[in-house]
């Protein structure tokens, strides 16, 4: 039986006058790969930093691996890998030393994985961290998080700043993690194509709350666009339940609907004597439409 690796209940967090999280409820089941989507400033980083105990929540409850996020034990921390949006690595250390130093803290360290990624990403381990490009520093941070094979990986915008080849390699590593079946990944991103490949669940953070949290395919099937055409003049609103947005012309209309019921389509056809076409949207568009609706 799988349990929830991360549980958030009514989590709030503000920075001076800015209320970032307004009551976040989120559960991340063990073994899942969850993508956290949200616009810039939606609070994704804040939520992830609270989850790993780098920030303290103002209200609500937040736990990781069954422990309060703010008071994680050393053993919980050793089961967790975290990559911050701007990773802080010791700038004066050489890459190889940094890897050896980090390895000494963990019971397990996958040197094969380290060597493979270092070679693929062409990171110069003889260079000091501060001499590496920003992309290489990020990649090194990712390697440091993956190498101990943690049960939980929390990654804040891991693919930002990676070139397409490095992104694909990273994705393949996450798929390997997913194949192991028991490890959990939570990552924020706004590159939805990557998310679609690698994630099985998606959570959408908007206005400081989780707007949606379910399987990715459920979301993709949940939001659709209707194209309606009729010989008759259309009413000013079509009144489809779950409408996020509609654009009604004289004989043609476009309606974006969340949670479309088949009866609604039949209803339109009968009521307006209309031709109705149902079109599925890409995740990018779904994301935009759900934000439009607020």
């Amino acid at each position: 039986m799988s349990f929830d690796v991360l549980e958030a209940s009514q989590v709030t967090k503000r920075f001076s006058s800015h209320q970032v999280l307004r009551g976040v409820d989120l559960s991340v089941p063990q073994g899942s790969v969850m993508g956290l989507l949200g616009r810039n400033g939606a609070g994704k980083s804040t939520l992830l930093q609270c989850a790993v105990g780098l920030l303290k929540v103002d209200g609500g409850e937040l736990s990781l691996l069954g422990e309060d996020s703010w008071r994680l034990s050393a053993s919980a921390k050793s089961r967790l890998g975290f990559v911050a949006q701007t990773p802080e690595l010791t700038p004066w250390m050489r890459g190889r030393k940094l890897l050896e130093y980090a390895a000494s803290f963990y019971p397990r360290w996958n040197w094969d994985l380290v060597r493979r990624l270092v070679a693929l990403w062409e990171i110069d381990l003889r260079a000091r961290v501060r001499e590496l490009s920003e992309g290489h520093r990020r990649q090194l941070a990712i390697i440091l998080a993956l190498a101990p094979e943690p049960e939980v990986l929390i990654l804040d915008e891991p693919v930002a700043g990676l070139d397409p080849v490095a992104r694909r390699t990273f994705l393949q590593e996450l798929i390997d993690v997913a194949l192991e079946g028991e490890r959990t990944v939570l990552f924020s991103t706004h590159i939805t194509a990557d998310l679609e490949r690698v994630a099985d669940r998606v959570a959408l953070l908007a206005d400081g709350r989780i707007r949606f949290n379910d399987r990715l395919d459920v979301l993709k099937e949940r939001v659709v666009k209707l194209y309606v055409r009729s010989q008759d003049a259309l009413p000013s609103t079509l009144g489809v339940p779950g409408t996020l947005r509609e654009d009604v012309g004289r004989h043609e209309a476009m309606v974006v609907v969340e949670g479309l019921e088949t009866e609604a389509v039949d209803g339109l056809r009968d009521r307006l004597r209309a031709h109705v076409e149902v079109k599925h949207l890409g995740l990018d568009d779904i994301f935009l439409e759900m934000h439009h609706a607020g």
């Binding site: 790969v33 694909r168 194949l179 099985d200 395919d217 990018d284």
Partner: protein, 128 residues
């Protein structure tokens, strides 16, 4: 076995897979008794989450298209019962319509477009 996964499409990835398995069976590229690659192999080959692959397999199993053979994976049972040429071509129609519209907007001569399409089709028949 080749599948083409496009995350940008509106259709969820598991449905893209299901449709392509059905299409390959309908087209005779997969026949009864063939085994599909394992979930692991598919996940690694297409860079797709394994849950997504196994969801597609499980649904195809419940449709009676595939059967699960212990220790060996998913086996093709046979072509879906009634599959007319028109039904088989149905998924292609929106793509062709979109291409036709685009060709029209670009004011391309019909012969040109058709000969391009023909050469694309021929490229793929070479792959077999």
């Amino acid at each position: 076995m080749s599948f083409h996964i496009d995350p940008a499409l509106g259709q969820p990835i598991y449905r893209q897979l299901m449709e392509q398995v059905r299409a390959q069976i309908a087209g005779g590229r997969l026949v009864a008794g063939d085994f599909l690659p394992s979930v692991r192999q598919c996940a690694k080959a297409f860079d797709v989450n394994p849950m997504t692959i196994s969801r597609a397999f499980t649904l195809l199993e419940s449709e009676g298209v595939l059967e699960r053979v212990r220790g060996k994976g998913m086996r093709v049972i046979g072509p879906p019962p009634v599959e007319t040429l028109a039904a088989r071509g149905a998924p292609l129609e929106p793509l062709l319509r979109a291409a036709a519209q685009r060709a029209h907007e670009l004011n391309l001569p019909t012969d040109e477009v058709l000969s391009d399409l023909r050469s694309f089709l021929e490229e793929h028949s070479d792959e077999l």
